[in-house]
């Protein structure tokens, strides 16, 4: 598929070509190629060990690929940057396990995430600017956490923690959001609300969602990429890929 994506190199927001990663001889990614357009929302599915989380690690600079290219906005080579630099470029990540700062209030979690100068000097001497406070208000409303703002994040319910983390992503105001299994462990009602929240976010952000939950992926109604053993098996609408023989065999058929 690399021939088809090459011409898009300049216009793609995120571009991965032939990315391989191995850990102690185990090939987590083998020649993975993927292109994401600006404003696009993409769902990534695949069985355990397909390389979904490793792919996220490569994009966010946590893991360096052994080979292959990773470009952001067609000009930033993400394989040469570290986590903080990539985050500053505008790539936000939500982890599989909700990772919020449990000893901080909901408000402070968002304050730490909000787009603002990140230097030691700036945070030591500067308080929360008016712009940041506005952002925080807006996000509290979007994520339905306004009533919880003064509570410690550690005291929130599982679903609320997931939303807070999505809210923290929004506060960063990234160009690209990577969301790892946002509905794992959620109730049906929470899942539906999360799908709605993500669709709302996708209106003005590019989003990559990694998910196991097929009902949730269907609810998102976006293009789907199926990963298997570290490379792309199929791509298309959920109905298209569900009809693909190989996909049925390795994943859906089980």
């Amino acid at each position: 598929m690399s021939d088809e994506t090459k011409p898009e190199l300049t216009s793609s927001l995120l571009y991965l070509d032939g990315v391989s990663v191995s850990f102690d001889g185990y090939k987590a990614l083998r020649g993975l190629s993927l292109a994401l357009e600006p404003g696009e929302m993409r769902a990534i599915i695949g069985p355990n060990g397909a390389g979904k989380t490793t792919m996220m690690d490569v994009i966010t600079g946590k893991t360096r690929p052994d080979e292959g290219e990773v470009y952001f906005e067609g000009r930033h080579d993400l394989t040469r940057l570290d986590e903080a630099e990539i985050a500053e470029l505008g790539v936000g990540r939500k982890f599989q396990k909700p990772t919020v700062f449990e000893n901080h209030t909901v408000n402070d979690n968002l304050l730490l995430a909000a787009k603002a100068p990140r230097s030691v000097f700036a945070t030591l001497f500067g308080g929360a600017a008016a712009v940041e406070r506005e952002t925080i208000e807006r996000i509290l409303t979007t994520t339905r956490l306004t009533d919880q703002r003064g509570r410690l994040a550690g005291a929130l319910s599982h679903g609320q923690k997931q939303w807070l983390e999505i809210g923290m992503l929004l506060a960063q105001d990234p160009k690209l959001l990577l969301v790892d299994e946002p509905v794992a462990g959620m109730t049906d009602a929470e899942t539906a609300a999360t799908a709605e929240l993500l669709r709302e976010i996708a209106r003005n952000h590019s989003v990559v969602v990694v998910e196991h939950d097929m009902a949730f992926v269907r609810e998102l109604g976006v293009k789907v990429t199926v990963l298997h053993e570290g490379s792309v098996l199929a791509e298309g609408s959920l109905d298209q890929v569900s009809a693909d023989e190989r996909v049925i065999e390795v994943y859906l058929g089980r």
Partner: protein
């Protein structure tokens, strides 16, 4: 300059006690007649002055361990380096009054047949220069050490081990006569500081007051740091370091700053300590001293600042008592205390204060370090 930090009730009480003690001690020690019940005998002044220095060290350690999760077992190095810088000034003040009556060279150098003052000792006749070195030397060591350690992402127990190795290496270096700092005897026989006799009651009272004020100032600086947005980021690093990286913060710079501030504070504590105890030698670098300081912080209450200072004073008071009454059992008592506090008082002594307060309407916090959380909440 940074605005004054918001203080909670505990912080206000702490400042009143430390500043009050600084004001009161000279009166009790010098003005009140010696046979009065309120008089402070000179040995008590010296003892409490020592406790104040330990408390500053504990606050410094709490800043990095309690708030940033850096368990440094090398803070005795910063404390001792500050102490040596002050000791070098005090040695040069002896001048021709030494046994060998050499106006420039301290006695141990004459004894070793040295003809010239080593470069490292230049400038230490000046109090201003020595004071600068008290902060600069520990600060630079912490900067160099932290630069490499934090950039290489050395964390947890590995970091603790190399901090311990650092202080041990310094201890061995300072033990050597040819290293030029008095070998295993260290620096002692001090005569005066800024022209005042270090042994006199008035100087001792002044040193106590200065130490108490330095403790109050250390608390204020630390408090300002931990309640700022920087401080919130540091607490976040302690709890979920990689999450902070993905938010775009340069974690290594955040750790480096707080580590250097803490080291400078520990250096100042050491500098105030040396004139009060009258000696500095390589045993101050002992890793065991660093571990004792960690126990003070744990006993008092980690991540509370006030608790760290309280723990330092309480444990050292117990140490003074025990080593006087049952000297051979002190280490067992210390070990037992650490185990008991860890098991039954996870929030330390300061946690006892919170028990007596009525429960807050906010829901309980199911977190491993709730003492800190409540502190932070109480500050609002």
């Amino acid at each position: 300059m940074m605005p004054l930090p918001r203080l909670d009730r505990l912080g206000v009480a702490f400042l009143i006690i430390t500043i009050g003690a600084a004001a009161l001690a000279p009166i009790l020690a010098l003005v009140v007649p010696h046979d009065s019940a309120f008089a402070m005998p000179p040995y008590v002044v010296a003892l409490l002055g020592k406790y104040m220095c330990y408390a500053i060290l504990a606050v410094a350690l709490d800043l990095v361990w309690g708030y940033c999760g850096i368990l440094s077992l090398g803070h005795s190095a910063f404390f001792a380096l500050g102490g040596y810088a002050m000791g070098m000034y005090l040695m040069r003040q002896i001048g021709a009054r030494g046994v060998y009556a050499n106006p420039v060279l301290p006695d141990f150098m004459v004894f070793l047949n040295w003809k010239e003052l080593p470069v490292a000792w230049w400038g230490f006749h000046s109090f201003a220069y020595a004071s600068l070195m008290v902060m600069l030397v520990p600060g630079l060591l912490a900067f160099a050490f932290g630069w490499f350690a934090f950039r290489s992402r050395v964390t947890g127990v590995y970091l603790s081990i190399i901090t311990q190795a650092m202080t041990y290496a310094l201890k061995l270096a300072f033990f050597r006569n040819d290293f030029g700092f008095g070998g295993n005897n260290g620096l002692t026989d001090f005569k005066d500081i800024l022209g005042f006799n270090v042994q006199s009651d008035a100087t001792r009272a002044a040193l106590f007051s200065l130490s108490a004020l330095a403790l109050a100032l250390s608390y204020l600086i630390s408090r300002a740091i931990v309640v700022s947005k920087y401080g919130k980021a540091v607490i976040a690093i302690r709890d979920a370091e990689s999450r902070v990286r993905f938010l775009g913060y340069r974690v290594e710079n955040y750790k480096l700053f707080i580590f250097v501030v803490s080291a400078v504070m520990a250096g100042v504590a050491g500098a105030l300590y040396v004139p009060q105890v009258g000696i500095i030698n390589p045993s101050e670098f002992d890793p065991g001293n660093s571990i004792e300081a960690v126990i003070w912080v744990a006993v008092g209450g980690r991540g509370t600042l006030v608790g760290a200072a309280l723990g330092a004073v309480a444990v050292n008071f117990a140490k003074t008592y025990f080593t006087g009454v049952f000297p051979e059992y002190w280490l067992y008592a210390l070990g037992g205390l650490f185990v008991l506090v860890t098991l039954f008082l996870p929030k330390g002594l300061i946690g006892l204060l919170n028990l007596r307060r009525p429960a807050r309407p906010t829901p309980p916090t199911p977190t491993p370090t709730p003492s800190l959380a409540q502190q932070e909440e109480g500050a609002r």
